[in-house]
């Protein structure tokens, strides 16, 4: 500023004086001062200029008349060009000619012309509100400027603004980071309501592939992007459930055994099963698990399970080849890309989240007998009918004891005993701030979860520090996370242990202590005994795991030009985990062990993992004319190693001494065990996107991948994809009219791989150990047969999709049709033992998945000004899985599987060409013969028989639903938001094990399902679903009688939220924002099949209350 003054020759002292007189509040106005010194006076002016700046006119006037001109540079700059043609005119006349149209006035004092704004011009005051187009919520801190001037104000926290505008101002400009700048013409209104759209770099419009970001409008791949806020609205803690509610092709496979155990990893799948199931149990991870990328780097499922949902900025699912080929050998099962929030510029912002959850066990699927009914049932099933008189006496005595207990009112609800209502709470605090060059973020989170089994809990603590720093063309970002987890399993053990216990047994004695035996009658030297599972639970035992991890992501971007940048990133991960299991010497598992030094057992395991991954990319974005090209070349290397040690010690005479140190000895004949694995990968990737005139789109990707996991002859593989798209709505013939807002057709084809095999499966390895020594020298024995040719299984993916937006964005539709062919599917095949090995990993077989997915949304009501939006949505997914080709070796394994199951009770996986991997194979049944009470079967070729034969099994159902998806509705009004999501599954079958275990094939001495009460077939002529239910009964073999349709409808999420942005009290209590949400999950469920779910651990119904406050 001072230098500017010097140009005009103002001495420094004067400048200071001027400064003092200035109103400091209006900083913008005073940019510069100008002074013109006088030399001649009162001269006439002759001037002829066209379109010259006002400033130069002043210079001319000054030189002609000698007057100094004094005005702010601001005024000069915003002045319009001047055209003047005067001849011999007075200065004042000239001034009057040129200034008014600039809306400037002047005063003459001494030899100085003081030019000021024309205050006489009419000022108009306008007010307005700026909101987000998406939800109508107010946008604070939006810059509202008068176009062409520097005059601007900001909206307040309620999105409101007020400003005075000079007459003649043509338009208002609304600018806000992350939103599209919009221009509104100024008209007669004094109140403006404006809704802004988020810009295309915003999440919704961007496809985040984890390696590059692409404009969604120009990308041809099949992807689905969800924001963290959207997911959190569905479930406050289960990110996978929330994702599957938004995208039905992402399925969380319900585990009927583990149910709602919070300490178990979910089984997730995208677009069907691409791999052979893990029959041998040798594959280390679920072979169908999608690749999970967190902030650019691969992480395991556990990390996402334990990640604080409040940290998630977005989740993107990459499905087809165009989207996943950049992950080459890892992309075949689909990719789930998770990004976390990054600090925003601005003054320090504090966000506090608290999610409180209440979970209750879902026991509605159990329907057991009470004491009275149970005793009656036992009577009728002849439990107390003995052979000899003496035997009968014993039974009578036993019955009388039980009857006595029943009569005294004992009716124990065993189901309620091991379960609890869980109270969970997660609090997280996020601080962020900074400016354009330095930003920081700090996060702390503590999550205390309780499961539905007593004593089952899980605690997560995490801290994160983000720092980003921009200097010239460089951008540094570093994010460090520390996380600690503790998990305890319930000492009550398996839930199913309690289901069978009889209600006339009572777990506690008169003094309130826990009985060791539920029943302990000695009748005539015969002992009737029943262990009390509660007794084990009352002892001091340990079943816990914990891990501590630290991860650091560093990213450096060098951006010499807008169109080109190089980015390199490095991620380091270290994790240490341990698990401990301790059983007291008193535990029932040591009942038959008398040696005190073998009673009580401690199992300790320690695990370490260390991994790093780097990715360096060079990105070039070119635009010329209608052409747009985005290109990325990247190089990626990673290594991850893990090892564990485990040992078992025994002999803990006193169960309070539950430390490993108190062990008497190592477990008899045991030794420490452990294993190690290291996997390294490298990859070179190219991906490019070409757009012509925003109409024609093309994507290509190429990746060359190498992995240490594969055979020495097949270490490298090439993966590629090509996609084409057509933005039909951008065609000129479609531009007019508002019926079609968007119509995009896209398709892609390519190959990807999947990589889920143990680290050293391809190598022939030797094992050393105590057992391999020979006369003092160490021997090496072959562990497994390596396969030098072992390679990725290749999945060829074809996808055709369409995105349609209609009727002023009221209707939103997406369709995708896909076919995925897995070739060289990896499998373990059995070998002739003469090869020296029992099995071998080989690329064999071909699996095909064909599917269709859609999602639709219709906005019934929309009024952004009132913050009103009511929409309904539905989505669906269907997938058909077929085994296309089987080698003879695989076919042979079927026979082996059947032979090992000559009296088969539970369905198993069989490989048949043309059938699905999820097919249920059973022997067809015609039901129970009313004459004899025996089951009538059909042989493979349709003959009736009473004989069950494993060879008669036929495909009878598919355990995967034909259609699954969600429908729901979302309603927003002002701050209120209501969201309902139903999940439906239709067209699948299930083998109803409950009907066998708890109804037909029951042991009547234990508790049974109410459906067993009428005993099934009793006498000739009875038409019933069940064969005779009684004491001596053959097991029910695999029969079509119990294959039932598994159609169900679940209210997976219902939520109610209120955003207090309109509430005045917020300011008073010092809050910036406040949001309260209540969610219930899985509260309602209706199913066509009555089956016990969550047999080891019941499913949970969740009620949660979330609070989000900003300071």
């Amino acid at each position: 500023m001072y230098q500017n003054l010097r140009k005009f020759g103002i001495p420094k002292r004067l400048y200071l004086k001027i400064l003092l007189t200035m109103r400091l509040t209006i900083i913008l106005l005073v940019a510069c001062l100008m002074q013109v010194s006088a030399s001649t006076l009162a001269q006439k002016i002759t001037l002829s200029k066209s379109n010259v700046p006002l400033k130069s006119v002043f210079w001319d006037l000054k030189s002609q008349c000698g007057f100094n001109f004094f005005c702010t540079e601001d005024l000069l700059e915003s002045a319009k060009p001047v055209t003047i043609h005067v001849n011999n005119m007075e200065l004042e006349e000239v001034l009057k000619m040129i200034l008014p149209e600039q809306r400037l006035s002047y005063r003459l004092r001494d030899k100085t012309v003081i030019v000021t704004e024309d205050r006489t011009v009419k000022q108009k005051t306008i007010t307005g509100f700026v909101g987000d187009r998406k939800d109508g919520k107010p946008l604070p801190m939006v810059t509202v400027a008068i176009k062409g001037t520097k005059q601007a104000v900001e909206t307040d926290r309620n999105g409101k603004f007020m400003m005075s505008i000079p007459e003649g101002a043509k338009a208002l400009e609304f600018r806000f980071l992350g939103y599209k700048t919009i221009e509104i013409p100024i008209n007669a209104n004094t109140n403006y309501t404006v809704y802004m759209d988020e810009v295309e770099t915003n999440l919704e419009e961007t496809v985040i592939t984890g390696i590059v970001e692409r404009k969604a409008g120009n990308f041809t791949g099949a992807t689905k992007m969800m924001t963290g806020a959207q997911l959190k609205q569905i479930s406050s803690n289960n990110v996978f459930a929330a994702i599957s509610a938004m995208d039905p092709s992402f399925r969380v496979i319900a585990n009927n055994t583990l149910g709602g155990n919070i300490n178990q990893l979910p089984d997730i799948q995208m677009r069907g099963t691409n791999s052979f199931p893990n029959i041998t149990g040798e594959l280390s991870t679920n072979p169908n698990l999608p690749l999970i990328i967190l902030d650019g780097f691969e992480v395991n499922l556990q990390r996402i399970v334990d990640l604080d949902m409040n940290l998630i900025a977005s989740v993107t699912l990459l499905k087809d080849a165009s989207a996943t080929a950049i992950y080459g050998s890892r992309g075949a099962n689909g990719v789930m890309v998770v990004t976390t929030i990054v600090p925003k510029a601005g003054k320090l912002q504090v966000t506090f989240n608290d999610d409180f959850r209440f979970t209750t066990p879902d026991l509605s699927v159990y329907n057991l007998l009470n004491s009275v009914e149970k005793l009656d049932f036992e009577q009728r099933t002849a439990v107390y009918t003995g052979g000899s008189g003496q035997q009968q006496f014993k039974y009578d005595a036993l019955y009388n004891e039980r009857y006595k207990a029943m009569k005294s009112g004992v009716n124990t609800d065993w189901l309620k005993i091991p379960v609890q209502n869980g109270y969970s709470n997660r609090s997280s605090l996020y601080l962020s701030g900074g400016d354009e060059s330095i930003r920081y973020g700090l996060q702390f989170s503590g999550d205390l979860q309780s499961g539905v089994m007593k004593g089952q809990n899980r605690k997560n603590y995490s801290g994160q520090f983000d720092l980003s720093y921009n200097i010239k063309k460089f951008q540094f970002r570093n994010s460090m996370r520390i996380f600690q987890n503790y998990a305890n399993e319930s000492p009550y053990g398996d839930f199913s242990k309690y289901v069978g216990l009889n209600p006339y047994w009572y777990p506690f004695d008169e003094n309130g202590g826990t009985k060791k035996l539920l029943e302990n009658f000695v009748v005539d030297n015969t002992r009737f005994q029943q262990l009390n599972p509660l007794y084990d639970a009352s002892l001091n035992s340990i079943n816990k795991t914990q891990y501590f991890g630290i991860s650091n992501n560093l990213q450096i971007r060098y951006m010499p030009k807008r169109s080109f940048y190089i980015e390199t990133s490095l991620s380091l991960n270290k994790q240490n985990g341990s698990s401990d299991q301790f059983y007291s010497a008193e535990d029932s598992r040591f009942l038959n062990i008398t040696d005190l030094s073998q009673r009580g057992r401690y199992t300790a395991r320690n695990e370490n993992t260390l991994g790093y991954e780097t990715l360096t990319t060079a990105n070039l974005n070119l635009e010329f004319g209608p052409h747009q090209i985005f290109s990325t070349v990247g190089l990626n290397a990673s290594s991850s190693s893990s090892n564990f040690y485990s040992l078992v010690a025994e002999g803990f005479p006193y169960d309070r001494l539950d430390n490993l140190l108190f062990a008497a000895q190592y477990q008899n004949n045991s030794k420490p065990t452990g294993d190690e694995s290291t996997v390294r990968r490298i990859g070179l990737v190219y991906t490019g996107n070409y757009t012509y005139d925003n109409r024609f789109l093309a994507d290509v990707s190429l990746r060359r991948d190498g992995s240490s996991q594969y055979g020495s002859d097949k270490k490298f593989g090439t993966f590629w994809s090509a996609g084409l798209g057509w933005n039909i709505h951008n065609e000129s013939f479609f531009k007019q009219g508002n019926f079609v807002n968007r119509l995009k057709l896209r398709g892609g084809f390519g190959s990807t791989g999947s990589l889920n095999i143990p680290a050293y499966n391809a190598q022939s390895r030797y094992n050393f150990g105590v057992g391999t020594t020979y006369f003092g020298s160490l021997g090496a024995t072959l562990l497994g047969l390596g396969n030098d040719m072992l390679s990725w299984q290749n999945v060829y993916k074809t996808n055709i999709g369409m995105d349609i937006v209609l009727l002023k964005q009221r209707i939103d539709l997406t369709f995708d049709f896909y076919r995925e062919n897995t070739r060289n599917a990896l499998t373990q095949i059995s070998l002739a033992p003469s090869s020296g090995f029992s099995s071998f990993s080989e690329n064999l077989g071909q699996i095909q998945n064909t599917g269709f997915e859609f999602s639709a949304r219709y906005k019934i009501m929309q009024n952004a000004a009132q913050g009103l939006l009511w929409s309904v949505n539905v989505n669906g997914f269907t997938n058909k899985n077929i085994l296309k080709e089987l080698s003879n070796k695989l076919k042979a394994s079927n026979d082996k599987l059947d032979a090992a199951n000559s009296t088969q009770l539970k369905p198993n996986v069989l490989f048949t060409e043309g059938e699905s991997l999820q097919t249920i194979y059973v022997v067809r049944s015609l039901g129970v013969d009313p004459a004899t009470g025996a089951e009538v079967f059909l042989t493979k070729d349709g003959q009736k028989t009473f004989e069950w034969n494993v060879a008669d099994k036929v495909p009878y159902g598919i355990s995967q639903p034909k259609w699954n998806g969600n429908f729901g509705s979302n309603f927003m009004y002002k701050g209120l938001e209501v969201n309902l999501i139903f999940n439906y599954q239709y067209g699948g079958q299930l083998y109803n094990q409950t009907l066998i275990d708890r109804v037909e094939s029951v042991d009547p001495r234990l508790n049974v399902d109410r459906r067993a009460y009428d005993l099934g077939w009793a006498k000739p002529g009875d038409v019933t679903q069940f064969t005779r239910i009684g004491l001596s009964k053959a097991d029910t073999k695999l029969t079509s009688r119990f294959v039932q349709d598994d159609n169900n409808l679940t209210l997976s999420s219902a939520s109610l939220g209120y955003n207090f942005y309109r509430a005045a009290f917020l300011k008073k209590i010092g809050l910036r924002s406040l949001l309260v949400t209540a969610i219930t999950n899985d509260v309602f469920r209706s199913s066509s099949i009555a089956i016990e779910r969550g047999t080891s651990n019941p499913f949970a119904r969740t009620y949660s209350l979330s609070l989000r406050a900003g300071f």
Binding site: K561, F564, I566, T616, V633, L635, A637, N643, G674, D675, E676, T678, V679, R680, I682, L684, G706, S707, S708, K715, F716, A759, Y760, Q763, S764, R765, Y766, N767, F768, G771, T772, T773, Y774, F775, G776, S777, L778, G779, A780, T781, L782, L783, L785, G786, S830, L831, A832, P833, S834, S835, G836, F837, S838, E842, N888, K889, A892, D895, K896, A899
Partner: protein
């Protein structure tokens, strides 16, 4: 800009080239909890360890540690009078080939033997692949021993699962594995397997001749397939295939070497703590089974369990076996080899009575016999050009066992019968007896139940189901 862009491109290209050239190395990750084949065979020690590994598998219970010596095969040879349902070895004693017991033993023997063969084959293929790593001496010994191991294991599989030679030389026997891969090998005929075995042995002999440390008196070589073990095995194989002349010659080389002298009466009769129950110095090849005590001491040859489940025979049976009525009482094998535990007579061959802290190298227990020098005498006696020479050879063994001489005038049939008796006494609980019965297709082995009559088919163990299923060429 353009220059800079080129520079960047250049840097990327250079980086990529470096990266890619280092790729192969980067991706070679070797396991730490186990050793990759490439890594193992990088040193002579590794070769040694791979061979040691094969011996350790042979020492496992599935093979010579139990099943093929004292256990299953001795039960087949009627060494134990077990009876009653559910009692160990009952189905084996009844030669009930379809029983789960026999099938399980057969399949365990089959797969472990082939697994050990795979180990030997890996050594063989790596010996040639990495010839430059090995000195001539080591190369000869490693390759020779591995070939001998392959032959030894295949020969026992042939004797267990193959047809009797005399009736089935041209019948399908067992696969002869010389490679390590997933592909099933079609079974060869008995005659072919014999040819393969002899070929391997010939090669092994040529390699080890003069190079084997046993020539310089290293008796620790007894626990490896040494040069003489190869010759002894040749004798065995040749005899099995009816080539008596060559069998005689091969056995003679072993005996004439003088390296396997007969045991002295002191050694076999001294106190329990030092007694040589296995006649260790007579072993041309034996297998060290270090943890044999864990199954032998509580389980075998001791008086625990019911009378019908003890692994022994009655006193009468032992009297019959050792012909105590006709001078057999002085037989070392009877006088010192049948001992009482809690008043019950047991064969004490495998009793582990050495003091706990005895140095490994001094112990005389913890071994199982592979090839005894006495077997060489029996082979020579059986194949001797004259009956008289045969009797003399047999008398050498008898004399060293504390028995009187047979008359030199007995006829050939009596001689053969005496040889059979010698087998029954000498190889009690060692397994070789069953092979002898099989070779001779003895219809009524000693002590067998009257209801059982053995024939060539019954002397053949069932090929495991898994092999028939996954080896389509069977």
């Amino acid at each position: 800009m353009k220059i800079m862009k080129n520079k960047i491109l250049l840097i990327i290209c250079l980086f990529s080239v470096f990266a890619l050239s280092g790729c192969k190395k980067y991706l070679e990750v070797y396991p730490k909890s186990s050793v990759a084949e490439d890594e193992l065979f990088e040193t002579e020690t590794g070769f040694q360890q791979a061979i040691t590994g094969v011996y350790s598998q042979m020492a496992s219970r599935n093979l010579y540690g139990d099943n093929l010596t004292m256990g299953f095969i001795s039960a087949l040879a009627q060494n134990y009078a077990v009876s009653g349902s559910g009692v160990r070895f009952v189905d084996s004693r009844a030669v009930n080939l379809g029983s789960a017991e026999v099938q399980n033993f057969s399949s365990a023997i089959w797969s472990t033997a082939y697994s050990a063969i795979a180990g030997a084959n890996k050594v063989i293929s790596n010996c040639d692949k990495r010839r430059n790593l090995l000195s001539d001496q080591k190369y000869a010994m490693f390759l020779g021993e591995a070939l001998a191991l392959r032959a030894y294991l295949h020969f026992d599989l042939l004797r267990l699962f193959g047809p009797v030679y005399a009736y089935g030389a041209s019948l399908k026997a067992i696969p002869y594995k010389t490679t390590v891969d997933q592909n099933p090998v079609p079974p060869s005929t008995t005659a072919e397997v014999i040819q393969f075995i002899l070929k391997d042995l010939k090669e092994a002999e040529a390699l080890m001749n003069t190079k084997d440390p046993i020539f310089s008196g290293a008796l620790s070589r007894q626990i490896n397939l040494n040069y003489y073990a190869v010759k002894a095995l040749q004798a065995r194989v040749l005899l099995y295939s009816g080539n008596n002349i060559d069998a005689y010659a091969a056995a003679k080389i072993v005996i004439d070497s003088g390296r396997f002298p007969f045991i002295s009466s002191f050694q076999v009769s001294t106190g329990a703590g030092q007694k040589d129950r296995l006649y260790l110095r007579e072993q041309v090849f034996c297998i060290r089974v270090r943890d044999i005590k864990t199954w032998v001491d509580p389980g075998y040859y001791r008086s625990n369990g019911g009378t019908t489940s003890r692994l022994t025979r009655s006193g009468t049976d032992f009297n019959n076996l050792f012909q105590t009525a006709s001078g057999g009482t002085t037989d070392f094998r009877y006088a010192y080899g049948i001992e009482a535990d809690n008043g019950i007579a047991f064969p004490s061959k495998y009793w582990q009575t050495y003091q706990f802290n005895t140095l490994d190298s001094n112990r005389l227990d913890q071994y199982v016999p592979g090839i005894r020098v006495s077997e060489m005498y029996y082979i020579m006696a059986e194949t001797a050009p004259t009956v008289e020479e045969g009797i003399t050879l047999l008398n050498t063994v008898r004399g060293n066992r504390g028995l009187g001489n047979l008359s030199l005038t007995i006829d050939r049939i009596t001689l053969q019968n005496e040889i059979l008796r010698e087998h029954q006494k000498e190889f009690y609980a060692e397994g070789q007896l069953w092979y002898y019965y099989k070779r001779k297709v003895i219809a009524k082995p000693q002590f067998i139940s009257n209801s059982i009559t053995m024939d060539a088919e019954r002397y053949r163990l069932p090929i495991p189901q898994a092999e028939l299923e996954f080896n389509p060429t069977y």
